[in-house]
Symmetry: C2
Subunit: 180 residues, 2 copies
């Protein structure tokens, strides 16, 4: 957040510059991207603030919740990377941090000793539930958006995510994907 | 992007878990935030890819464009931080990188020698125009979104940004703010 609010919307101001120099059709994509990037900063900043008392960040919370909702409470690290869409080195760091906090344990895969699983602990389940209640109570940092605005964002960005190849509901299901 | 698309929308799947465990009213804020964060990753990833041949990143490009559109082609580093909403240490790194590329020069402020200005060079102006044409041509990484979806995102996220104190059109204008 800036020290004090600007007396004008900086993204709308950029839009005016774009319209004058590059043509009206260039305005909306540029404004949408800057809006998305800034909205991510705002919401993740709020979530990080709320998670700080738990020594968690939004990224650690996401990893913890992935395990919380996995069928066995355990996932191979590589699979966590795919689902969280982060590189394996970052998954390793996230799991290291959660392990230090006692929320996750590393265990060998029962059928493949070369694969390491991250397994949520009882304390991890307790903290997952407690932090989720905190984040739900603060509307996940989306204030002051209402139901209609939230749905508009979700629907439009679903088309973007689908277009980027994040998911394809017509693809044949891989039994393995049901794990999480 | 994951190696292959998941056969289901992972955010919708999280929404189903939320509805079952935490109540229907908790679903939309959570889905909206994860959607925003993922959309930022997708679009910034695309922009970084397009800017790589210019040795630029989206963050460097934003800093360059701020100078490009400033009235004098020059701004104090502190003010750049406020406008870009990044810490001064990061502004310094961005300006260092742009200076190495010959796109920006550091100059002393004409009226206050303690203040350093970042000033866009002629080459900086050329590269700003060229890269903007490249990004405009690829719809700033927002494909496949159409005009209606882009406007829905812009409008909803403007309410979020205003609510977070980024701007306030009713605030008295500071003459200084008109610079950029």
């Amino acid at each position: 957040m800036p020290p004090s609010p600007l007396p004008f919307d900086p993204i709308r101001e950029a839009g005016r510059q774009w319209e004058a120099h590059w043509g009206a059709e260039t305005v909306a994509p540029m404004e949408a991207v800057i809006s998305i990037v800034r909205a991510a900063q705002i919401t993740v900043g709020r979530l990080n603030g709320a998670l700080e008392p738990f020594d968690l960040t939004y990224a650690r919370y996401e990893a913890l919740m992935l395990l919380f909702y996995s069928r066995e409470g355990a996932l191979p690290l590589g699979k966590m990377g795919v689902r969280l869409q982060v590189h394996l080195t970052n998954v390793t760091k996230l799991v290291d941090a959660l392990e230090r906090l006692g929320l996750v344990e590393r265990t060998p895969h029962p059928e493949d000793r070369r694969t390491t699983l991250a397994t949520i602990t009882a304390e991890g389940r307790r903290v997952a539930a407690e932090t989720t209640q905190v984040l739900n109570a603060m509307g996940f940092g989306t204030e002051p958006l209402g139901a209609e605005e939230l749905d508009a964002v979700i629907d439009a960005l679903r088309a973007l995510r689908r277009g980027a190849g994040d998911f394809d509901e017509t693809a044949p299901a891989d039994a393995d994907d049901a794990d999480a």
